[in-house]
Assembly symmetry: C2
Homo-oligomer: 338 residues x 2
Amino acid sequence: MYKRRFTKADGRALYLYGQRPIDDARLAGPETPGHNPAHLRWHPLLNTWVIYAAHRQDRTFLPPAERCPLCPGHEIPFPHFEVAVFENRFPALARMPAPPPPDIPIPARPGVGRAEVVVYTEAHQGSIASLTTAHRRLLVRVWVDRYRELFADEAVAYVMPFENRGEAVGVTLHHPHGQIYAYPFIPPVAATEADAFAERPVLLELLPRLRPYTIEETRAFVAFVPPFARFPYEVWIAPKRQHPGPWTFDEAELDEFADILGNVVRRYDALFAKPLPYVMALHAAPKGVERFHFHVEFYPPMRSQDKRKYLAGTELGAGTFVVDVLPETAAETLRKVL
Amino acid sequence: MYKRRFTKADGRALYLYGQRPIDDARLAGPETPGHNPAHLRWHPLLNTWVIYAAHRQDRTFLPPAERCPLCPGHEIPFPHFEVAVFENRFPALARMPAPPPPDIPIPARPGVGRAEVVVYTEAHQGSIASLTTAHRRLLVRVWVDRYRELFADEAVAYVMPFENRGEAVGVTLHHPHGQIYAYPFIPPVAATEADAFAERPVLLELLPRLRPYTIEETRAFVAFVPPFARFPYEVWIAPKRQHPGPWTFDEAELDEFADILGNVVRRYDALFAKPLPYVMALHAAPKGVERFHFHVEFYPPMRSQDKRKYLAGTELGAGTFVVDVLPETAAETLRKVL
């Protein structure tokens, strides 16, 4: 894998990753500067940080394809690229954020960290499923490189690559892309998972019993609907061995991981014969935590072809999910769909 | 307050509450039976129960007004009523649920508890804001009565009245109504809040410092945007004294609570000059917990008149919210809107 780092006019970092050497000349032209005023405030009842990024109200919202900022020549001033990563122009977390406003009656601090955009391909159309096998295998190696580089920042405690896909989950740009947040604290979900894995190897215990829930299996990985899914067509991908993150995968495992990831998205898109909206997140260990079982979680917000699942009273008010579709039914459907 | 209890043909309970005696004769006619197959499964990574209620896929979805099940004569077989409460026909939790299916590779148990529908008025149109003052004061007393009756069930550990309003939060019936879930466990949000209050009287400490966040204040209550709001126009209503739940309010406090509740919804509806969708939940103490500061939380899913806030990667994958509108700005807007 080849990698080159550039600095944008406003100081934001831009990385190009490729299977081939990256030697195109940078395009000339004006660049739009970013904003960094995000800050954190403490939620004293939920014991967690909330991120405030008021400038995000102005962010680019579903632009026409010819003004897509993720196509070559806008945020990425090169005529071609394979995978590009850059610091978000409207970051929730940033290297040099502004201090919080004065007089907040609770603990507050600057939103130090990173919010990166990962552009999967220069092509404006497509998805993880439509990338070539080699290109998808490049993408998972980009994630590994980002984990390594972001963990090296001493302010960073947790790194989460994720993808929001589809207008149903609020996507404002259609060009195939994901994001990476590097948090200066361990977020609640990661903390709860780390506590569970510290106590028991939960997934190692569960994996041999997942036959009716399995969608697809390779030598080293399983894709399954968890028997405790909170979304109707939730899918997890986990390695059979307990890896803290994809940074401990060997080359063959990285390839297999990319392949099964593509297949899950392919199944999703076959489910209702159109691209299924989803939130996908990589759940790796927080920095310095060893006993953790890396996995990917996909949450599609649909409970049928035309009906959404909404998070409402019980989910938001109590934190308890009510699910309409049994996991074993969802697994059978997703197993048979291809 | 007058109250009468009835039993529907399928065994479900129905309660009528009124300011006047309830002596109308019950209407004859067929009744549609309910379903009770909900069960719970343990999520071993998040350490919490998930509720499965697959029959809910079939629930009534935005029927035309003339077939509204919440108007007099359908679920509520009386020609008139003030406030009616009945056990949901598609319950997430029920008094006599079926056992979970066999062979689930994680802990599972029947979904014991209660899912009640609270019909605010016989009128098909309206909201908490449009009820008369006396009727809204009746409604808060109905909630108190439900807390008392549901807590008396030894299977119940937590009771949460809530309201989902608007299609943007998935409402399937427009008739003004809320719901009450009685859980056989303490849900994650309630548990986290109870831990916080056990340590410190968080809201008592915060309330004197909320001036820039206050929307409305009465003798005994404050409505405010919390300085750590996770939704752009989130509002909380809290009593100034630390009550574990509305069941310790005196008559004057119950009236004031109803009044400020109506005013908050009135402000919401003025904000974008149309009924604002929201999830409202009453956060009271779990059964047996004394050190808890009751409050109501409203989560509207909008970040502007025409833009939704979506819960996506960081909220669902990490549990960390990113907010676009500063709480002090939202508070000023909501303060000035009426």
